[in-house]
């Protein structure tokens, strides 16, 4: 099993091609499911290996780094893999019926191809040890994402996709510029090699510019306010499977890129001491939290509401990173993990609502607490987790974030976080109120909700509770990752 690092990328890529070759809808779904199962298995196995060794390194083509490309999996990568493959597995179970319903028959095979390529792209980003390779896999996932978003039924999906394509390409090109600048100054692309060679040239304009371009590029991809314009439409109009998967994973991988470059590559010394990047992150994060939450309160389309909420949650993560402390980093990673669970649950539940009513407007959800009890119960769990009610995963990360803020004596920000939780309460509460306490609309759809969708949804929902009551796994990996990042022996 020494080849797991590469198989976890190559398997979904080849599966994507195989699906096209076989050109059968059911088979396509089955292959997608099996592939994501394999990837999940691979990421869990690698997580186990990481209990013994610090880092799994795999040199491709038999050329040792920095000449060949190296895959490098540390605890941070493993955490991302866990999120990605876990979400992918649940999404593929869920996709069977959702895709049948929302995607025209002739496009279904290619839909799964694109989905697998998004997965492979995101996995590739998370494990690569080569800066330029990040760009390549970023584009693999992005191109397929654009196509997937455009498959939404509303024509606005097309425009949303185009907007994302424009901003995404600018973002990727910015990252490319940043990588180029670093390459000019060091002559290498390997992240390990870069991190060793950078200190010698750290005090140059070129490196500072590289830092800025990479941060902004990744910031666009992460929908960091004020670079978020693409996200609300993209999430609102894309098919349910796509919005679920993207909401659970895509922006987090962009944040991962940011963390990887800023902490592993440039190093804390450079990022937070030579340039005051921590302060900038704190400010941007705070604006993101408030802006995203306030926007979310005013939305009448629940998908869009959750999209703005995602922008706010990215704010939480950035703020936590900006604290530049061990506690802060841990809180950030923990929230990356927990937020994936939360948004996965919420978007899946909405997908089921969409399955029945072909809409995610708040108004059509009147009274569905009675007619779709299981779906809405899961939505409620996700909502409580988003608010940060104890016993849910959201509480755990919020707890660590506030603790980290208090440790840094930033108690006004701690208060602000909790005020933002109240905003969250308001927008989640609006949905729950409409669903449970309004009379059901007439002309109720009689469509049965498929079991597969409910199963996937409930696994997501219950994981919110499991990781809320027992954070051993999420905490363990996050702590390990942070220790590796800041170079503390664990």
């Amino acid at each position: 099993m020494t080849h797991l690092p590469v198989l976890i990328v190559v398997a979904p890529l080849l599966a994507a091609a195989l699906i096209v070759l076989l050109n059968n809808r059911k088979v396509a779904w089955l292959i997608t499911l099996l592939t994501s199962l394999f990837c999940f298995y691979a990421s869990v196995s690698m997580l186990e290996i990481l209990q013994e060794v610090d880092v799994i390194s795999y040199t491709l083509g038999g050329w040792k780094a920095p000449f060949g490309i190296e895959l490098r999996i540390d605890a941070l990568s493993a955490l991302m893999l866990l999120i990605l493959t876990g979400s992918a597995l649940l999404v593929s179970i869920y996709a069977l019926k959702s895709v049948e319903k929302e995607i025209p028959d002739k496009n279904q095979v290619l839909f799964y191809t694109a989905l697998l390529m998004v997965l492979a792209g995101l996995i590739g980003i998370s494990i690569t040890g080569d800066a330029f390779n990040v760009f390549v896999f970023l584009e693999i996932s992005s191109l397929s994402t654009y196509a997937l978003i455009s498959l939404g039924r509303d024509r606005r999906a097309l425009h949303a996709s185009y907007q994302y394509l424009m901003m995404g390409t600018i973002g990727a090109t910015f990252i490319l510029i940043g990588i180029g600048f670093m390459y000019v100054m060091t002559g290498t692309l390997n992240i390990q090699d870069l991190s060793q060679r950078l200190p010698a040239v750290a005090d140059t304009n070129a490196i500072r510019a590289a830092f800025a371009f990479i941060t902004i590029g990744a910031g666009i991809k992460a929908a960091m306010l004020p670079l978020h314009q693409w996200l609300p439409n993209a999430y609102t109009y894309s098919p349910s499977v796509v919005s679920t998967f993207l909401a659970a994973t895509a922006t987090k991988v962009a944040v991962y890129v940011m963390i990887r470059f800023e902490l592993s590559l440039f190093g804390i010394e450079f990022s937070f001491l030579q340039i005051p990047f921590d302060k900038i992150l704190v400010i941007l994060g705070t604006i993101g939290i408030l802006g995203g939450s306030i926007y979310a309160v005013y939305q009448n389309n629940v998908k869009r509401m959750l999209a703005y909420s995602s922008i706010a949650q990215i704010g939480y993560i950035l703020l936590a990173i900006g604290l530049a402390s061990q506690a802060g980093f841990t809180a950030a990673l923990l929230h990356i993990f927990n937020h994936a669970l939360i948004k996965g649950t919420l978007f899946m539940a909405l997908g089921i609502v969409f399955f029945r009513f072909a809409s995610a407007e708040l108004s059509i959800m009147a009274g569905i607490g009675k007619t779709m009890p299981l779906t809405m119960a899961a939505f409620t769990i996700g909502g409580l987790s988003l608010i940060g009610i104890p016993g849910t995963a959201g509480f755990v990360s919020k707890w660590y974030l506030v603790t980290a803020l208090l440790d840094a004596s930033l108690w006004p920000l701690a208060l602000l976080i909790l005020v933002a939780s109240v905003l969250t309460l308001i927008y989640v509460g609006r949905v729950i109120e409409v669903a449970y306490f309004r009379p059901t609309l007439k002309g109720e759809s009689q469509l049965k909700v498929p079991k597969t969708m409910l199963i996937a949804l409930w696994i997501f929902a219950l994981s919110n509770i499991y990781f809320g009551l027992n954070s051993d796994i999420s905490m363990g990996v996050s702590t390990l990752a942070v220790n590796q990042l800041i170079g503390v022996a664990s």
């Binding site: 080849h3 491709l60 290619l110 390549v136």
Partner: protein, 323 residues
């Protein structure tokens, strides 16, 4: 004196590029803008040539100047060639652009002078590539060696990017279908001239495919050239005929096959417990293993690129307006 001459050509070409882009911004005729972009790509290719990047120049000419332009024209056919005459003067936009520019100018201030042989980029890794290529791979074109062997994983990703672009276009536009009634005018001169020309293009494509180890070229360029032969055929003789020669429905599978060929070539090394894409495992002699590996992956790339490019062309040219 040569260095100044190179620099002079360089600056001239760059200035030319500036003028082209300026014209493109100003024009309201999208057809003109598209043609200007074609010229832009072509001049860029010349620039690359001047900067010793022959492979890149070749690709830019084939892909940028050739394929992209054709694609844009196909799209214009469907959308109309004029934009609303109004220029937005975005203050915010200008601000962002100036800020970006300032950051870039600030950043390049520390760059080593252009062409400086002692710049860090030329001291680390690059010399080893040139040396290792001669020792371990033994092909003259270092770019091909780096592309297919040292950084074969990137190139695998690149093949997948092309494939995913094909899938994306197919998802958006479908395969389309040719309009059987519509046939281009029967122009005997054109027919007579083009027929042998297409044959030449295809032969040239094969040459580029297999000569990539020695000179400029490789799977990408070959794939595009090969596809452009068919595109030319389709333009001259009518698309329905072209679709009879290469049916659209087979193309996605060809493209997938290209990716699979590349991937499997990489996976074979796993059997002998070498890492992914380690071509040494392909033969008892490492050097011939490298040769074989490069050949195979280039074939995969060529197939994928050819099929995808042709597929994208079909998708654009065969779109039915009324759907």
């Amino acid at each position: 004196m040569i260095e100044n001459l190179e620099l002079l050509i360089d600056v001239c070409l760059l200035t030319f590029l500036l003028l082209i882009v300026f014209a493109a911004i100003k024009t309201t005729n999208l057809f003109v803008a598209t043609m200007l972009f074609g010229i832009f790509s072509f001049v860029t290719a010349l620039l690359f040539l001047d900067l010793d990047a022959v492979d890149v120049a070749f690709t830019e000419a084939a892909v940028g100047a050739g394929f992209t332009t054709v694609l844009m024209l196909s799209a214009l056919r469907l959308t109309g060639a004029f934009e609303n005459v109004k220029h937005r003067h975005s203050v915010l936009g200008l601000f962002i652009v100036v800020l970006t520019g300032a950051a870039l100018i600030y950043g390049v201030a520390d760059f080593p002078n252009m062409g400086d042989a002692n710049a860090p980029v030329h001291l680390h890794i690059a010399p080893e590539y040139i040396q290792l290529t001669q020792e371990k791979i033994d092909i003259p074109n270092v770019v091909t060696a780096v592309l297919a062997s040292f950084r074969g994983y990137d190139t695998f990703g690149e093949t997948v990017v092309i494939f995913s672009a094909g899938a994306a276009v197919l998802l958006l536009l479908g395969m389309g279908h040719a309009e059987p009634k519509h046939e281009p005018e029967q122009n005997l001169v054109l027919w007579v001239v083009v027929k042998p020309f297409i044959a030449l293009i295809l032969i040239f494509g094969l040459y580029v495919q297999f000569h990539g180890d020695f000179g400029a070229g490789g799977g990408f360029q070959a794939g595009v050239i090969f596809a452009s032969g068919f595109i030319l055929y389709s333009l001259v003789f009518g698309e329905s005929y072209a679709r009879q020669v290469v049916p659209a429905s087979i193309l996605p599978r060809f493209a997938a096959l290209g990716v699979i060929i590349y991937g499997l070539t990489g996976l074979v090394s796993l059997l002998s417990d070498k890492t992914f894409l380690d071509y040494n495992a392909l033969s008892s002699n490492p050097v011939s293993g490298q040769h074989l590996g490069i050949l195979l992956v280039e074939a995969g790339v060529g197939l994928a690129v050819f099929s995808t490019v042709l597929l994208i062309f079909y998708s654009f040219s065969g779109v039915n307006h009324n759907e």
